[in-house]
């Protein structure tokens, strides 16, 4: 009896400590963002009103709720700058995810077909760049893409172009940076499912006279759909909110939404507007995030 009691005490502690941490530092901050998105900018410290003052009691609480407004959301809806920013982020995320599928799938497929010993080496090779700082990897591309960088030197040496081309500060540079940075996130989940495939299924299809492209389309691809979905979500969701890549490689004319939040916050010091932009972004991503969580938990239960 005593032992049972002791165990349940430890059990509740094991659950409660991380639970409380995430409540305090993940959920509560979100509620604060939501609240500030309904506030007004002010020249004060902190730079927004109203500030919730619990000491003022019930009338204070009522005054607080009366002062909340949807002005920031009206602003986002009416200013085309914000709308363009959202559209551009989703567009870049969607197209680069598509490119990632076309580049990542052949790599993952080839990895899964190699002898076991080589597979382990290749997994380390794919993961290794992910451990290196994103900032450094993007900076490495700045070296290559700049006006007199290696890419232009190589293209001119091969006489593909006559004049040096502008690569930096273009959307092409953003695509290159995004595809480069997120490739491991696409390859690894795909490899994990492809590696478990039973080769005899493909052999059976081939024996029955199925052409190779059709085997891929009817057998391989459907069997790898869970890995494909995981890869798509792991890439698409963070790319939409990406800041470092468009900031260092992209141009200044049309910022992505992560940059918009950053400038609203750091340059314009408009905390309520930054919060409102962030809330709309979360709403935009809430469906893919829920699909991702569902997928992650299902994989967990199945194991």
């Amino acid at each position: 009896m005593k032992r049972h009691h002791g165990r349940s005490f430890w059990q509740s502690l094991v659950v409660r400590i991380p639970y409380l941490w995430l409540l305090a530092f993940f959920l509560v901050p979100f509620l604060i963002v939501l609240k500030i998105s309904l506030s007004q900018t002010a020249i004060a410290q902190p730079p927004y009103v109203p500030v919730l003052d619990l000491a003022a009691g019930w009338p204070g609480l009522k005054a607080f709720f009366a002062a909340l407004s949807f002005d920031n959301y009206v602003l986002i809806g009416s200013d085309p700058l914000y709308l363009l920013s959202y559209v551009k982020s989703v567009e870049i995320a969607a197209f680069s995810t598509l490119i990632l599928i076309f580049i990542g799938y052949p790599i993952a497929y080839a990895m899964a077909r190699l002898p076991r010993r080589w597979q382990a080496v290749l997994v380390v090779l794919v993961v290794l760049p992910f451990w290196t700082s994103l900032l450094i990897r993007i900076y490495a591309w700045m070296n290559i893409l700049q006006h007199d960088g290696l890419l232009n030197q190589a293209l001119m040496a091969l006489s593909i172009v006559k004049e040096p081309q502008a690569w930096l500060a273009t959307d092409t540079a953003i695509y290159i940076g995004v595809v480069y940075s997120y490739l491991p996130f696409m390859v690894l989940p795909l490899y994990a499912t492809l590696e478990k495939h039973d080769e005899s299924l493909r052999e059976a299809a081939a024996d029955l006279g199925c052409p190779r492209w059709k085997i891929f389309w009817l057998v391989t691809l459907p069997l790898s759909s869970s890995g494909l979905l995981a890869g798509v979500l792991l890439c698409f969701i963070p790319i939409v909110g990406e800041f470092v890549i468009p900031d260092l490689l992209g141009g200044s004319q049309s910022p992505m939404i992560g940059q918009t939040i950053w400038t609203e916050f750091f340059s314009n010091k408009d905390w309520p507007a930054a919060s409102a932009v962030a809330v709309v972004l979360v709403c935009l991503l809430v469906t893919p995030i829920l699909v991702y969580q569902n997928q992650a938990m299902r994989t967990l239960e199945r194991e």
């Binding site: 032992r3 002791g6 430890w10 094991v14 659950v15 991380p18 639970y19 941490w21 995430l22 530092f25 993940f26 959920l27 901050p29 604060i32 902190p46 580049i103 052949p106 790599i107 080839a110 077909r113 190699l114 290749l122 380390v124 794919v126 993961v127 760049p129 451990w131 290196t132 700082s133 900032l135 450094i136 900076y139 490495a140 591309w141 070296n143 700049q146 480069y180 490739l183 080769e199 979500l233 792991l234 969701i237 963070p238 909110g241 990406e242 800041f243 470092v244 260092l248 992560g258 939040i261 950053w262 916050f265 905390w271 962030a278 972004l281 991702y292 969580q293 938990m297 967990l300 194991e303």
Partner: protein, 269 residues
């Protein structure tokens, strides 16, 4: 027998070249004697020697290392507890929101995580600095640790624990003597990932930092915005080298402990 076609090999070679060429170029150019980043002026370690005299940069490097040590350690502790809770305690009340809070930060854009944590720190009127960044990094990293340790716990052979309990070991003793050593490789991998995440992070640190806590990525970012410089090439090459050696060492270590763990399991059986 699986056949590896020429197309397969081509995909792998091209992929590897794409992943590694930029980093190789960066490292080579960090040894360039010429101040002009694109003109090759012969080999030189000049830029590395110049780094030691750059006091703010060295200070930032130490802040980042300390930050990574602290946040990785706390995150590993919290993440391991969370993984145990998720795998071992069945369907406790509030499991679903708990799991949701573990998975959501993994894909949440960093800008939002950083902004929301900053607004929290402002709301409770804490002075921002080293510890606020440490809390922010811990929160993000613990979710990654949870996923890694969780995967290991799912593969875990429960009969080992049952055997220890049948022989009279207390739950705590069972955990320390049987469970912990077997999941240790995953915990170590989680710690390393948490360490790397903290060392790497620019966005969340920029939001949550304060005076006197300028991390290395923040310092590098402010330089990089102004363009490509040979000194920065040298700093980045050092970081690439350190990370590369650490990851290779760790994967060798994991391989060793993995085979040892497996043989221990066979012996117990």
């Amino acid at each position: 027998m699986r056949k590896v076609s020429a197309f397969n090999l081509f995909a792998i070679l091209l992929g590897a070249a794409f992943l590694y060429l930029p980093i190789v170029v960066l490292v080579i150019y960090s040894f360039n004697a010429s101040r002009l980043v694109t003109v090759w002026g012969g080999w030189s370690t000049h830029w590395y020697a110049a780094l030691i005299d750059d006091a703010p940069l060295v200070e930032s490097a130490f802040i980042s290392l300390r930050l990574a040590l602290v946040s990785a350690t706390v995150a590993t502790l919290l993440g391991t507890l969370a993984a145990l809770a998720l795998v071992r305690f069945g369907r406790f009340r509030g499991r679903l929101p708990f799991a949701a809070m573990v998975y959501a930060p993994l894909v949440m854009p960093e800008v939002i995580t950083g902004l929301s944590l900053l607004l929290l720190f402002v709301a409770v009127a804490v002075d921002r600095g080293f510890w606020t960044v440490a809390i922010a990094h811990t929160t993000l990293a613990m979710c990654f640790v949870t996923v890694i340790v969780q995967a290991r716990l799912i593969d875990f052979d429960m009969s080992l624990e049952e055997a220890a309990m049948d022989l009279g070991a207390s739950p705590l003793r069972t955990f320390l003597a049987v469970t912990l050593p077997l999941i240790l490789p995953a915990i170590a991998a989680g710690w390393m990932l948490a360490f790397a995440l903290s060392l790497d992070d620019l966005v969340i640190a920029s939001f949550t930092t304060g005076p006197g806590a300028t991390t290395l990525p923040i310092r590098i970012y402010s330089e990089v915005r102004l363009g490509v410089k040979p000194e920065i090439n040298a700093v980045c090459s050092i970081m690439v080298g350190v990370v590369g050696i650490a990851v290779i060492a760790a994967s060798l270590l994991a391989k060793l402990s993995g085979t040892r763990g497996a043989s221990a399991r066979v012996r117990v059986r």
